[in-house]
């Protein structure tokens, strides 16, 4: 998948989200068979990944977390190598040593994934610092995290350092209302993480996190601002985790009315309906995209299944440089 500095077409955003959805639904199936331990999906949150990542340039870096499939796929990751990684296969992005929770792909500028909640926030300033010290490099760093991570101390340390050192970081908080099995309202005095970011002196915005076009526009605007000023900015996508924390999770603790309200605002449906309403999409085109995405995922699963496991000797490699 291409990422360019031009705005992606709404159809490209739609297809990216549909690819993420299809990938994660395939993983849900694999996890149900007991083969993808720890899988965390971002079903319902695809607009944040598609909108933000497609607003970045190839020179930019992204840091992601345990819910990373969308960010990686939007960046152009090969779903076959991702599933291979989840299955612990040698052909995975990390030779099977990561598994699903911390896939990094340096070749895509997706670096240093941490599943320690807040880990990516601790690492982002250093990646951004290196960019500022490389002459001619105008790349910025986008780092993705949840509202739960914002409750970690290092969130505040990271934002503060980024402000006082003027580091080019786009902080992207996907506020999906859940912090594993605890609702955001139990852990924070306010509704929006933006307020904390603003208090640290960042330009901080919220956006409808289920509207891919709105997310894209906000991310593109903030990215341009970061490039122009060198200062960090903060974007909070207001969204909802419509599947469980991980697979399987029957969500017994979720208020059905709240879940239903968000499901009615599914980001893929939302964009598809909008495009349909003004004639940019019809059923035939949608079916075409769906078939293309399904074929990609089928092929990815087949590739991963056919891939070999690493040799036992791999246990001892890559410890030291």
């Amino acid at each position: 998948m291409q990422h360019s500095e031009q705005a992606p077409s709404p159809l490209a955003l739609l297809e990216t989200m549909m690819l993420i959805r299809a990938y994660e639904e395939a993983l849900v199936g694999i996890a149900a068979g007991g083969n993808a331990p720890g899988t965390c999906t971002s079903v319902g949150q695809e607009a944040a990944a598609a909108g933000v990542v497609r607003a970045l340039t190839p020179r930019d870096r992204i840091l992601t977390n345990h819910r990373s499939a969308g960010h990686l796929l939007a960046r152009g990751a090969d779903p076959g190598r991702m599933i291979a990684e989840v299955l612990g296969k040698r052909t995975g992005y990390c030779k099977g040593k990561s598994g699903s929770l911390h896939i990094s792909a340096a070749e895509l500028g997706a670096v240093l994934t941490s599943t320690i909640v807040g880990g990516e926030l601790s690492l982002a300033p250093g990646v951004a610092l290196a960019r500022t010290m490389t002459p001619g490099d105008d790349g910025i760093v986008a780092t993705f995290f949840g509202d739960g991570a914002a409750c970690e101390g290092v969130f505040h340390e990271s934002l503060n350092l980024a402000v006082v050192w003027k580091l080019p970081i786009l902080y992207v908080c996907e506020n999906n209302e859940w912090q594993a099995f605890v609702h955001r309202r139990e852990t924070m005095p306010m509704v929006h993480v933006r307020d904390w970011a603003a208090a640290h002196g960042l330009v901080a915005e919220t956006v409808d996190g289920n509207d891919a076009e709105a997310v894209h526009a906000a991310a593109a605007r903030l990215a341009a601002r970061i490039r122009a000023t060198g200062e960090p900015a903060f974007l909070e996508t207001l969204t909802y985790r419509t599947r469980g924390h991980y697979e399987p999770d029957d969500q017994f603790y979720v208020d059905p009315a709240e879940l239903a309200a968000w499901q009615a605002r599914d980001p893929i449906e939302l964009l598809a309906n909008r495009l349909r309403a003004d004639g940019r999409l019809d059923d035939a085109r949608l079916a075409q995209i769906r078939a293309r995405v399904a074929a990609v995922i089928d092929e990815a699963v087949a590739f991963a299944n056919a891939s070999p496991y690493p040799e036992t000797a791999e246990l001892f490699t890559d410890v030291y440089a």
Binding site: A105, S114, P125, G126, L129, E157, V319
Partner: protein, 323 residues
């Protein structure tokens, strides 16, 4: 050869490496304030003060190291490392492996350690073994001014995260230090004194107590070999085993407490691989399993001293040497 203090040896190493390699930079609480000569020579971008936030200092070093820089961070006193454990242990130590070798982390974490300032347990705690137990890290703890310089320069050039512990009591001790290029490889112990009857294995300030003990023992007819480990990870297992085989008796001495300390590893190593050469059990002389006290006599009592080392060595050598 010039005689300089340990603190000056450290400064020399940092300045030389920053001069040699523009990707080396240093930051921490008060670094730019205290190291004005570095700011003057290398500029504010490469020598920085930070907010009081050890987690983000260490995390920033990790992110920068993976992105082509070679950061040195000063986290001041070893107990403050507790605020940076995730960044050092989970990120610096593991992300190379977890990424299948996609990243490397050339970075040095400086921390002061040990008794000497009578300021109590939240500034004085020898935590080096925690990091020896963590994969992907290297751990260094020198005893002489020359090794401080040579090991620090090697640590800065190493492509892996290195915890560089500075025994607080040694900062103003002087020694001969080669000017300019002087590198001491990580993972290599130094035999400070050769002997036949007993091996004294140590690192940091207690190395000096071992040397003093060896002199006393020599006067009593006991020939003690003194090994300064210098690096705790990688550990120079070959040097330890060769000496144990030569003398048949080993005393391990360190200030850190005994349980699961480096001494336990040395003792186990010798028991596993040189058991047949041993003429007596391996002895450990260590700090006690208590927080470090503030009061001067208590702080001194915390640290194994030369007379205790002499007594332990004599006990192992037994009546034969008394004759």
């Amino acid at each position: 050869m010039p005689v300089i203090t340990v603190n000056d040896a450290i400064s020399q190493a940092i300045a030389e490496e920053m001069r040699r390699d523009p990707s080396v930079l240093m930051f921490g609480e008060g670094v730019a304030t205290k190291r004005r000569e570095l700011v003057a020579e290398f500029g504010a971008a490469r020598v920085r003060n930070t907010p009081l936030a050890e987690g983000i200092i260490a995390g920033t070093a990790v992110g920068a190291a993976a992105s082509g820089l070679r950061p040195i961070v000063d986290l001041l006193f070893a107990p403050f490392l507790c605020f940076a454990m995730d960044e050092i242990v989970n990120s610096a130590g593991k992300l190379r492996y977890m990424s299948g070798g996609q990243f490397k982390f050339p970075m040095v974490v400086l921390a002061m350690s040990g008794a000497g300032w009578t300021v109590g347990a939240q500034h004085n705690h020898n935590v080096e073994a925690w990091f020896v137990h963590s994969p992907g890290l290297k751990v260094v703890m020198p005893s002489s001014a020359a090794d401080f310089k040579g090991l620090l320069k090697a640590a800065i050039r190493d492509d892996n995260p290195v915890l560089f512990f500075m025994d607080l009591a040694l900062g103003y001790q002087s020694g001969e230090v080669p000017a300019g290029e002087h590198l001491v490889p990580l993972g290599r112990a130094a035999t400070l004194r050769e002997g036949r009857d007993v091996t004294l294995v140590s690192y940091a300030k207690t190395v000096h107590y071992c040397v003093a003990a060896a002199e006393t023992l020599a006067g009593q007819g006991i020939s003690a070999e003194v090994i300064d480990l210098r690096s705790l990870k990688p550990l120079d297992e070959a040097a330890i085993l060769a000496s144990a085989r030569r003398t048949g008796r080993v005393v391990v001495v360190h200030e850190a407490s005994r349980l699961c300390g480096v001494g336990a590893e040395v003792a186990a190593l010798v028991a596993e691989h040189a058991f047949d050469a041993l003429q007596a059990p391996v002895r450990r002389l260590t700090g006690p399993d208590t927080p470090a006290p503030s009061s001067w006599p208590l702080e001194q009592a915390f640290v194994p001293q030369a007379d205790a080392i002499v007594a332990a060595a004599r006990e192992l050598v037994g009546a034969r040497a008394y004759a």
